[in-house]
Every structure is written in structure tokens, then in C-alpha cells.
Amino acid sequence: MSALMTLTKVNYQVGSHHILHDIDWEIQAGAHITMTGPSGSGKSTLVRIIAAMISKTSGELIFDGQPIETYDPIMYRRQVSYCFQQPTLFGETVADNLAFPYQIRKQPVDTAHVQEALENVGLTAATLTQRIGDLSGGERQRVALIRNILFLPKILLLDEVTAGLDEANKTIVHQWLKHMNRDHHVTTIMITHDAGELAAAQRMVTVSAGRLEETR
């Protein structure tokens, strides 16, 4: 395994508030990593930096052999995809959301592929015409998740996406993630506080007070 991403002495500061301190971290291609740590310790901030949603204040971040600054942020985010804890679906229907990744790439929607993706998270093609306001929390989160992977990213960052889901939904998401990682070689980093998920973690990193430690 080679490092897909390397962080060296990454810091993040807002004014005088030092949120991340000298983060050193190598992320191996194909890894399935669980990230945990107290609330407010800087986990979301760290993965948002990795996702190019915000920029580090200092340090170095190398993705696929090149500094993050050398990539166009738009193209980069298609490879390093960030999923929010409380996703917002847009438009009117589920179909609007799943068409979006195609629209932004100026490609026609691949209906068969969308249907397969829906089935992988326990939904069906019938969901497509459902209005977003009528979805349950679990359905909403699953639709949001597949929105991120219709075009496979190299890294998938999941920010507490299972928080607030019931056990049945959690299980579906876990199996889907394993499938993404094992069969599609997507490197996954999952932030969680969930005891079950922590117990099942193969590799684990802990962020506390803005510092990162590899704990398993």
C-alpha cells in the first residue's frame, strides 16, 4: 500500500483560535479508517480541509503525489468527496438529487447505474419520484450518500453520517460502506461516536483538542 494522502504539520487557525495543531497523517490507498474524538476536538474541521471545503492555515497536504494547491478545487472535490452529518437534499424529488452529479459533468443520467446504487442502499427505483420532504431521516441520508458516489471518488469522507439513524439504517450503511471499500477500492474515512462502529473499526484515529493520534 502507498500513501494516497499525506498531511504534514497541518494547522488550522481562526483568528487567535488554534483549532488544529501540527497534524501529521498518512492515509493509505484503500484504507477503511474510523475517526473519533470528543465533540469540538476538530474532526469536522480536519476532514473539511482534506475535502478542500476550507483551507489549512499552514502545513502541507499531498494528494496523489501533488500538493492540494495544484489541483482545481472543483475537480479535486470530485475525487475527495465529503458527506455532511445532516445532508440537505435540493430540488423537489429524489431524482433531482441523483441527476445533479451528472448535470455538473454535463453527462446524461445513467438510469441503470442510479437504480443499482439505490438498490445497494436498500432503496428502489420507485424512490426516484418521491418528494424529498416525504423521506424519512434514514432514506434522506442514504440518498445523500449515493449522491456522493455515483461517480466513484478516490476518498469518501463521512462526517457522523450514521448519527441519528436507527440500527437497521446503520447496518445498511455499514454494509454499503464495506462494499464501496472492498469492491470499488474507495478509501473511506468515517467520523463516529457510535460504540458499535468503534468496536468494529479496523483502523482508528482519535482527534483530541486539535491533535491527531493513530490509536489502532
Binding site: A51, S55, I74, S81, Q86, T88, F90, F100, I104, A144
Partner: protein, 251 residues
């Protein structure tokens, strides 16, 4: 012409200001200072402009006319900018949007022979176009500001999916353009039924046959649609990028 507002009747009409002032004081609206300042400004500005226009119309010099139009456009841009608080480069953007919307609309009217290239026609028409464009742009800015605030999460979500800045903002941009144009479209629907607009009223006042006056009003309706749509679209397409930083992140 039988336009007879003499100084005495103007003075008596000033009593109407006291009505507004009285209501403000009585209802504790706190507007009394604004009303007094507004009235004084209106008097001073109009008196100055009256004499300036009289001079410009008499001299009939193309550069002087253009300078006056430039002055109108700059003031309009300055006012539109104030509505765009927090949007970087709002002044140059407004200036460009009002300049183009006024220039194109005016150009079409002149080429079509609807108005003549003389100061007494070009200047008042420019003022009408620029002020409507200004209002449209101001409304569009306000809409951009509130939407980028209220829909922050949706915009972030689109960015995270790898949308470019236009794809991430397009619904907001469209809504802002609509908001800017809405008053003009609404007033086009009610013109003649509710309002007899300034141009038409002025011509009728001056003794022009109402049927001739409406031709001008129809022209004005067309030109305001053109001016507000051009102004709003140019301003929105130039302004939305300023909600993002150079790393294409939402500020």
C-alpha cells in the same frame, strides 16, 4: 401649456409634508429626521438639477450631455451598491451593469427613432432607465445576500459534490434576477389601471393628447423591461463569484 405651480401653491403643498411628519411623531415611527432630511435633499437636488438641465439644454453639447448621463449612472451605481452591503466590488459591478443596461436600451431607442439625440430627450430617458436598473440591481443584491445566507448548507453540499461555482449558485442567481425584475413586470401589468406613470402624466399635464401620450408610455414600459433585465442579469452574474474565495470555497 397650462402648468401653473406657482410659489404660493408650492408652499401650501408643503403642508402635505407636515402630514407625514405628524404621523411619524404621533405613531413614534422615529422617521421625523429622515423625512426632514429627505424633503430638504429633494428640494436642493431638484433646484440644482433644474438649473443644470436648463443650462445643458441650452448649450446642447454632446460631451456635456454625456457627462450628465455619466453623472446619473454613477449615482445610480452608488445607490445600488449600498443595497449590496458585504458584496465585494459591488460598485464597479453596479457601474458596469447600469452602464450597459442604460447604453443598450438608450441606443435601441435612438436607432429606432423613438427618441431624438438631443439633451432634453436623452437625459430624462437615461435617468428613468438608470433609476429602474438601479432598483432592480439593488433588489437582486439583497436577494443574493439573503439566499447565500439562508441556503448556505445547500450551496456547501453542491460544492462538496464537485459543482463549479455557477452550478452551485445557479438557483440563487436565477431567483435574484427574478426578484430584481419583478416590480417592473408587476407594474407593466397594472400600468394604466393603477398608476398613470410619470412620463404619461407629464405629457397629459403639458396638454398632449392622451392617445399620443400612451405611445410614449408603451415605449417606456418596453425600455424598463430591457433595462431591469439587463441590469439584474449582468449584476448577478458578476456578483455571485464574490461569495466564494479564490480556492472556490464559500466565504
Amino acid at each position: 401649456m397650462n402648468l401653473a405651480v406657482n410659489n404660493t401653491s408650492l408652499f401650501l403643498a408643503a403642508m402635505l409634508v407636515l402630514v407625514a411628519l405628524g404621523i411619524s411623531l404621533w405613531q413614534k415611527l422615529g422617521l421625523d429626521k429622515d423625512i426632514v432630511v429627505g424633503v430638504l435633499r429633494a428640494i436642493v437636488q431638484l433646484v440644482i438639477v433644474g438649473y443644470v438641465l436648463k443650462y445643458i439644454f441650452r448649450i446642447d453639447n454632446v460631451w456635456l450631455t454625456l457627462a450628465m448621463i455619466g453623472f446619473i449612472i454613477f449615482n445610480a451605481a452608488w445607490n445600488a451598491k449600498k443595497r449590496g452591503a458585504g458584496i465585494p466590488h459591488a460598485l464597479p459591478i453596479s457601474l458596469l451593469a447600469i452602464l450597459i443596461s442604460t447604453g443598450v436600451t438608450l441606443g435601441v431607442l435612438i436607432l429606432a427613432g423613438a427618441i431624438k439625440l438631443i439633451p432634453s430627450q436623452v437625459i430624462p430617458i437615461s435617468g428613468m432607465i438608470a433609476s429602474n436598473s438601479m432598483v432592480a440591481i439593488g433588489l437582486a443584491y439583497r436577494s443574493l445576500n439573503t439566499q447565500f445566507r439562508d441556503q448556505r448548507q445547500a450551496v456547501l453540499e453542491r460544492l462538496a459534490l464537485g459543482a463549479n461555482l455557477l452550478d452551485a449558485s445557479i438557483t440563487i442567481v436565477r431567483e435574484a434576477i427574478r426578484t430584481g425584475m419583478a416590480p417592473t413586470i408587476d407594474s407593466a401589468k397594472t400600468v394604466g389601471l393603477v398608476s398613470l406613470p410619470g412620463m404619461m402624466s407629464g405629457l397629459i399635464f403639458a396638454g398632449v393628447d392622451p392617445v399620443r401620450a400612451i405611445k410614449y408610455q408603451i415605449m417606456v414600459t418596453f425600455m424598463l423591461l430591457s433595462a431591469t433585465s439587463l441590469g439584474a442579469i449582468i449584476a448577478c452574474y458578476l456578483a455571485y463569484r464574490n461569495f466564494y474565495n479564490e480556492r472556490k470555497q464559500l466565504k
